[in-house]
Symmetry: C2
């Protein structure tokens, strides 16, 4: 061991999920949107004069903040933007979770929460989901250094209602509560309205799912201006200019076109409902999804086998080899055409097994 | 004080430098390049099909890593990329500086080093520059948890040669040494060649200066593959996808066109030399600059006064109200035309004072 290696940050290397790139593949493994971004984004791309790139971008990201504040009917000082919701969440962990008490999040949830806790040396406890993959709200009545809930939760696709979120907030007036709403546009109800009543509530959303912009890396948080100020203090102390000029220009166009946004969401929801019915016919069970993916298990065929068989046909879904969920597949909702092909192959595989 | 505020990260809010946006202004305050990015960047912009943005970008940034590795004749596993050199440096601080011993960097240097040290709770000591703003290498012979040197240094513009860097490395085989070469292309010699001999040496560079891409936020590090691996482990645990698709596509074009890059650098150096001569005529003194800025003090007129007077004429230069340097202006080298206007106004101001 070299002497300087003793000063390395001690972490378990996190391996990002697979990003296959096979011609003709059907990619249903990372919950991307199958439809392109709003048409205005293409226009903004065509109008970009690269001469502008020689200057630093606006460190306050005001164009994008303004568009989001108008869209969600909040003040500009209630909005924070970052390089994907991962950047936003990491900044929030760094900003708000500096207590000796453990932060709380479910044992089955977005796989990055424990990674950030480890990275920033934040103690944490993971109350288990119940046997129906539901969060037990009573588990969050105990003393804690903060709470993080994905709603809808991933990979379960289950969304809790606002009474549930309100109840957790009413029992937690001592720490910051983060609700990660990456998938909320696909049928859930956002808790943004609760930020009026709860100063310690931070909502995090993303452009990567319902807005079809995973490739641009844009995420945002909405909350009381005092929370946003702390996040900005930390952000400016980390990297004053996180959002490049293209994120600002292209992002604004994606927020502005609400009709297109709603149209994409509707199509995905309609495809999802149809695929859920077809999966049931094929012998699968799953929680009712409020996300752009379905978390499904077959009544007789092991998930890992199906995952591999689908893979051999260039259809990529997500399989987690983890206790409690290792007999489930997380299937992203693609276009109708993609899902028809998927269902056709699946039908054959189920028959063969 | 609200209860959750006790869990906030304790930091002194960092205020990013001013980004004025006045029509007709001459902006010489943030060391941007006055020339546009390489022509290939405009072509890449025009060719971008926004349909691609619906998918996550390649988490390994392989297109850009490959282009940089080829350009610098190193292996791909020796290159790390991030959202500007600020992101790269912040990741490096988090990755390598986890010792109880203080890290070392000069008292006058890039203003972010102490901000990151505070943010990540890293102890630090700042050996003073000598009266000619030179780094005293003997100050870096003591025990430490790491070393960070900007070369050329900012805001002094002074570049030390490779013997100097090698000497510091020979005296430091116990900790990671970072050389921040943001400005090295403007006449300095890069220490990338020394990474062959010193496994604990990390070089950091940026697209924001000589490559005219401040608006895109692209920075990179080059070093031994074992250092790069640790940075990637930390990066993947923070945000798996830091580089958006446009950074990868546009960045590659900026690296590929070395002729254009050299042409821009030559023009800036030639303008700098001419402006230095003219400033001398006007009664200024300054260290010989190897950067795209000049760090100048007038023999009789206080810097703060000149800064304000220039500002009133919509000419923005940088003034630091800090001990030892509060009688200096940091003047970015713009186009010949901009610098002619600047010199004309300055001539008048000097006469009037």
């Amino acid at each position: 061991m070299k002497p300087w290696e003793t000063y390395y940050r001690k972490i378990t290397p996190y391996v990002p999920g697979e990003q296959p790139n096979v011609p003709g593949m059907i990619k249903l493994n990372t919950n991307e949107n199958p439809y392109p971004p709003a048409p205005g984004v293409q226009k903004a791309v065509e109008e970009l004069n690269t001469e502008q790139l020689k200057l630093y971008p606006d460190p306050t990201s005001s164009l994008l903040i303004k568009a989001l504040a108008e869209h969600y009917k909040v003040e500009e000082n209630q909005v924070f933007v970052g390089v994907g919701s991962d950047d936003v969440l990491a900044m929030a962990f760094m900003s708000f979770f500096n207590s000796d008490k453990p932060i709380l999040f479910p044992d089955i949830t977005y796989s990055f929460y424990d990674v950030w806790a480890e990275l920033f040396h934040i103690p944490y406890t993971q109350p288990p989901l119940d046997e129906h993959f539901r969060i037990c709200k009573e588990d969050y009545y105990r003393e804690n250094g903060g709470i993080v809930l994905a709603n809808p939760n991933a990979p379960t696709s289950i969304c809790e209602d606002l009474h549930f979120i309100r109840d957790i907030l009413e029992h937690n007036q001592e720490s910051v509560v983060i609700v990660d709403e990456a998938y909320v546009d696909f049928g859930g109800e956002s808790a943004i309205s609760l930020t009026k009543d709860f100063e310690n509530l931070l909502i995090v959303q993303t452009f990567s799912k319902s807005r079809s912009m995973a490739g641009m890396r844009i995420g945002y948080a909405i909350g009381n201006s005092s929370l946003i100020k702390v996040m900005n203090d930390v952000k400016y102390s980390y990297n004053s200019y996180t959002m490049n000029l293209t994120s600002l220009y292209y992002g604004v166009e994606a927020v502005k076109d609400e009709n297109y946004h709603q149209e994409c969401v509707k199509r995905i929801i309609s495809t999802r409902e149809r695929v859920m019915a077809a999966l049931k016919e094929l012998g699968f069970h799953f929680p009712a999804s409020k996300a752009n993916f379905i978390f499904a298990s077959h009544n007789t065929i092991p998930a890992e086998k199906l995952y591999q068989d689908l893979r051999n046909e260039n259809i990529f879904v997500r399989y987690f080899n983890k206790p409690k969920i290792n007999n489930y597949l997380r299937i992203t909702v693609g276009t109708d055409e993609e899902m028809n092909q998927f269902l056709e192959v699946l039908k054959r595989l189920v028959k063969e097994n």
